[in-house]
Subunit: 335 residues, 2 copies
């Protein structure tokens, strides 16, 4: 990204192995994330910055210390690098690995990428996937893994009512995850007919169009005045966070994965007397990758449906425009 609103395709040097734990991958597909729109809109600084953190591809080269992957493997990787051996990783928080870095610093809207800690970051598929599986595998790299984590953080489970704040790609993946985790009732909060339809396809049982306090009040109405057991917050604004907290019953769980920007705060007294649990943050996608790949491989889930625009990498600038103007929910870039 040359500057806000200005995305260019440029030639860069091909990456090479630096550490013995590295792998070089040739990307098969990548995509544009809602969070990529922050710098695009000038909210975050950008200056000829490589972009992208979602990726699937084929291993082209590995360092001497890489044990679980071989050249030619098709791999899915998390949007955060992790060694997957430290105490934090072993506890399932690979997105906070002591050696963690964000893949956005590498930039995977590209043909090739160097992935550090390849054993700890990448997971190989059983074999080369059918092309039709690639979009779904790509979602596992971030949006599916993030929506899944949100549902786990919100303790979606059999018998529960789950409300989902946010109808972007992550929110829709949260609906899918809640369904897989056995939630009895899944309330998608959306006012866009196309996204409502996709939410229903992914498992939503109810749609609520109201937002903010009206939205929270509607959730309470639908749950005997108590609030949902589990609420997924997949936006990251002050309004959406308060909507999530206020839609949750005492003792219930809010799982938040929409990145909170600077001005977002949780009011202490309201949090205290709400009695809710709060958990979230950057999703430890690596924890879930083996399970998600398996679900996709067995065609139990089809999260790739979330892509509603496919473009070649050369047309990435149009992809940003389409997402910025909300003409597309999620753009897949072929390479």
């Amino acid at each position: 990204m040359h500057a806000p609103g200005d995305v260019r395709v440029v030639e860069r040097d091909s990456p090479t192995i630096i550490e013995s734990t590295d792998a070089i991958i040739r990307l098969s597909a990548t995509c544009i994330c809602g969070s990529d729109l922050w710098p695009y809109r000038g909210v975050e600084a950008v200056d000829d910055t490589p972009m992208g953190h979602e990726y699937v591809g084929i291993v082209e080269e590995i360092g001497d210390a890489v044990k679980t992957l071989k050249v030619g493997d098709f791999v899915v990787g998390s949007f955060v690098i992790s060694d997957n051996t430290c105490e934090i990783c072993r506890a399932g928080y690979q997105s906070h690995c002591v050696h963690g870095t964000f893949v956005s610093q590498i930039g995977t809207q590209s043909e090739r990428a160097r992935i550090p800690y390849a054993d700890g970051t990448l997971v190989a598929t059983p074999e080369r996937p059918d092309p039709e599986l690639i979009p779904s595998l790509l979602t596992a790299s971030d949006v599916l893994g993030t929506g899944w984590f949100a549902a786990v953080a919100a303790e979606a489970r059999p018998g529960n009512t789950v409300a989902v704040v946010g109808d972007g790609a992550v929110g829709l993946m949260g609906v899918l995850a809640a369904k897989q985790l056995g939630a009895e009732r899944i309330i998608a909060m959306s006012r866009h007919p196309d996204r409502q339809a996709l939410a229903r396809e992914f498992g939503a049982t109810d749609i609520v169009e109201e937002r903010g306090d009206d939205g929270a009040a509607r959730i309470k109405e639908l749950t005997d005045g108590l609030g949902a057991h589990s609420v997924i917050e997949a936006v990251g604004t002050q309004e959406s966070l308060m909507q999530a907290i206020r839609a949750t019953r005492p003792g219930g769980h809010v799982g938040y994965v929409g990145v909170f920007h600077e001005d977002v705060t949780v009011p202490g007294p309201e949090l205290f007397f709400s009695g809710v649990h709060l958990h979230g943050g950057p999703a430890p996608v690596r924890r879930f990758l083996p399970e998600l790949i398996d679900l996709i491989w067995r065609r139990e889930i089809d999260p790739g449906k979330v892509f509603d625009l496919v473009l070649p990498l050369e047309e990435v600038a149009e992809g940003y425009r389409a997402m910025d103007e909300r003409r597309a929910t999620k753009v897949l870039l072929t390479i």
Copy 2:
């Protein structure tokens, strides 16, 4: 409390049964809570307000609908009224019961009290207790139950390192609870030698005297740079809350029970990237009462040691002064 700083003993009408689910109890002992100091110090409004919400005593009269108690029973009650039958209570959040009210609105720094929803709020001891057990049973009404909830909310358990922010009565009870729940290492944060000694007696393995960010940094030093698995926040100020969040490892748990006053906020971006779990609020003491009474009855725990001043109810004003001036950690009032 007539006005801030002015506590008086006055005659009031004896309470009578109003609802069939009520019980009238004659108190055996009550106490002064750290939270009673807020109005005492003028931070909360007060105007001839009955005070007190911790209590043990003998059932004198019951309404027709009361099933689990009989006249003459010795009972311990939670500081929040609960029906213990609604969906929220059944999920273990009796402090948010749909029929919940705070006992502070009744005021148990008194000889008698009317307790609504007696079956759902009070738990009888197996028989009349030895007088030496009364202080410990009284702690179960709030400070022990609250410290216990904080330890549960912070997921204190075998193998874990638990840090406790706050060396007041609740923090000390948090230490005791963490020990009972099997924590391997318990770090009490205190700079008062007498409270440090009591913390060690209750199970603390380490003492940290630093506060704020220095305190959090010290906890990280003691935990391989990662932070504690579980942190109990038993103060309720902005500084103590940030100390707790910053002392917790990613994926770890903060259990907060210090009442957050108006100006306390959780900064969204820091919370997001911390990866911690937050849970707390008014403790559902009723959930834990049967277990806590049993532990006390079998003399497995002796939380009554937290009382370091005993006065007759008539001298309640001196009790407030002693706590306000930090001459006492916790004052028991005999009746």
